[in-house]
């Protein structure tokens, strides 16, 4: 028998001075294979056309519809209502700037993060458009692709206890980016270069290993293993810094710029 679902949805428009944060309740009858994305669209069509939430691909590929679903960050389009109880509470992702209701601005944060971890291939080789692209081993390409599957939904950041306590923490999405470029043979950066980007308490050494990032990631990225590998690498780099041959970690960097 079809259930009647009760949605408790966070409402607030920060652009409107008269708006105050509150929860609105909507009741919908459940349909077959109903996702939260479908439910939200129905609420907007049948109950409140002013409800704000983001979506784009409807297939778990763009990350736009990330929100807190009964306490856990997740994708609305990926979440079937049959997997949820009758009472469903939807909140916007914390940590990110609120646009309105369930819509947040993850773009500014991700843009800033990409700049902070220098999320592009660093190479001294001049690009020749007439030449064929350099080949890489299939296994390497697949390993890079595995980490490149991040859709920048922001769920890992919203679920991170460290990020909730300190806003300058880079978070799993950023550290995953670094792990991705470490694998890329076209990137000439060494661990000493990465150390400058993530070798402090705003980076890998700020991570407390709570692993909510790994547990909520809708793309099931191997975040735990990446974070552990980066921690070992960066800790090793600091250790080498004390050895005469690697005396100055910081001096290694300008060559790549």
């Amino acid at each position: 028998m079809a259930r009647n679902l009760t949605f408790h949805i966070f409402r607030h428009n920060p652009a409107d001075p008269a708006s105050t944060p509150h929860m609105d309740t909507f009741v919908l009858n459940e349909t077959a294979a109903m996702t939260l994305f479908i439910a939200l669209n129905r609420i907007r069509e049948e109950h409140d056309p002013g409800l704000q939430f983001d979506f784009c691909c409807r297939a778990g590929m763009c990350g736009a519809c990330a929100m807190v679903i009964n306490g856990r960050p997740g994708l609305a389009c990926h979440t079937q209502t049959r997997d949820l109880p009758e009472s469903i509470t939807l909140l916007p992702l914390p940590f990110f700037k609120l646009v309105g209701d369930l819509s947040v601005d993850t773009g500014v944060w991700f843009r800033d993060m990409y700049q902070r971890v220098e999320s592009w291939i660093h190479t001294t080789r001049a690009f020749d458009p007439s030449k064929r692209e350099a080949r890489m081993a299939n296994a390497t390409a697949e390993a890079i692709y595995e980490l490149d599957r991040c859709i920048e939904c922001g769920c890992c950041i919203a679920a991170c206890g460290t990020a909730r306590m300190r806003e300058d923490f880079l978070g799993a999405a950023a550290l995953n980016r670094v792990a991705r470029f470490r694998l890329d043979p076209r990137d000439e950066r060494k661990d000493a270069d990465y150390f400058h980007l993530i070798g402090d308490d705003t980076g890998i050494f700020g991570c407390m290993g709570l692993l909510a990032c790994e547990d909520v990631c809708p793309k099931h990225l191997p975040l735990q293993d990446q974070l552990a590998a980066l921690r070992r690498r960066m800790a090793g780099t600091a250790l080498k810094h004390r050895l005469p041959f690697f005396r100055n970690v910081r001096k290694a960097r300008p060559a790549k710029a």
Partner: protein, 218 residues
């Protein structure tokens, strides 16, 4: 094609945080090993007071207690200082992590909060225990039993024991997942090991306490 321009980076200027993490790992692992060794040594009373006395006598005759005791105390304090970097002391942070944990209902997040709470208890009660034991050498089963049987100490050990075992078991798991000794694939195994450690260590500890409570202090 030139690289994109460099942005103003908030780059780390020191290797301090890396060393702090190293030290946190080393002190944590050393304290883990010490706690297990301590548990087994004290539990030797279950084999008879004479066994515990003999072991304690051996450790004292070799100077391990006199030297090791203060060293462990120092290790304990260094570990406290290093891990305190993570503890939310400000009210704003406390509210943020509490609300976060309550909403997320995530096991490992709650475990971290349990680790912090147990650490604070162990810091206070552990120092009291270490001070009283090291200030009253030699260690004997009768003296330990007399202390455990005195009222405020009975309560202290009944609180200290579960807090230590909880902290040690979570610490073992956290250390493993943070540094990769426990991989993502083996995480369920790590959780099982953590639970098993907690139950076994707690059982041994409670049996030892019970033995001390019933041991003649004459």
């Amino acid at each position: 094609m030139p690289n994109p321009p460099q942005y103003a980076l908030q780059a780390p200027t020191t290797t301090g945080p890396a060393w702090a993490d190293w030290l946190q790992l080393c002190t944590g692992a050393a304290l883990l090993l010490f706690m297990w060794a301590h548990m087994l040594l004290v539990a030797s009373v279950l084999l008879g007071p004479a066994t515990m006395n003999a072991l304690a006598g051996l450790l004292e005759a070799t100077g391990l207690v006199q030297l090791g005791g203060p060293c462990i105390g120092l290790l304990f304090l260094v570990h406290c200082v290093l891990t305190a970097r993570r503890i939310p002391f400000r009210q704003l942070e406390q509210r943020a992590i509490w609300e976060h944990a309550r909403l997320l209902k995530h096991r490992d997040t709650w475990l971290w909060l349990a680790q912090v709470a147990s650490a604070l208890v162990v810091l206070v009660l552990g120092v009291a225990h270490m001070w009283t034991v090291l200030a009253d050498l030699p260690i004997t089963a009768a003296k330990s039993a007399a202390r455990v049987q005195r009222w405020p100490w009975t309560l202290l050990y009944l609180v200290l024991l579960p807090m230590v075992e909880l902290h040690v078991a979570i610490g073992f798991y956290r250390l493993g997942v943070k540094w990769g000794f426990i991989s993502s694939r083996r995480r369920p195994l790590g959780v099982k090991a953590e639970k098993l450690l907690l139950v076994v260590c707690l059982a041994i500890g409670l049996l030892t306490l019970l033995r001390f409570l019933t041991l003649s202090v004459e």
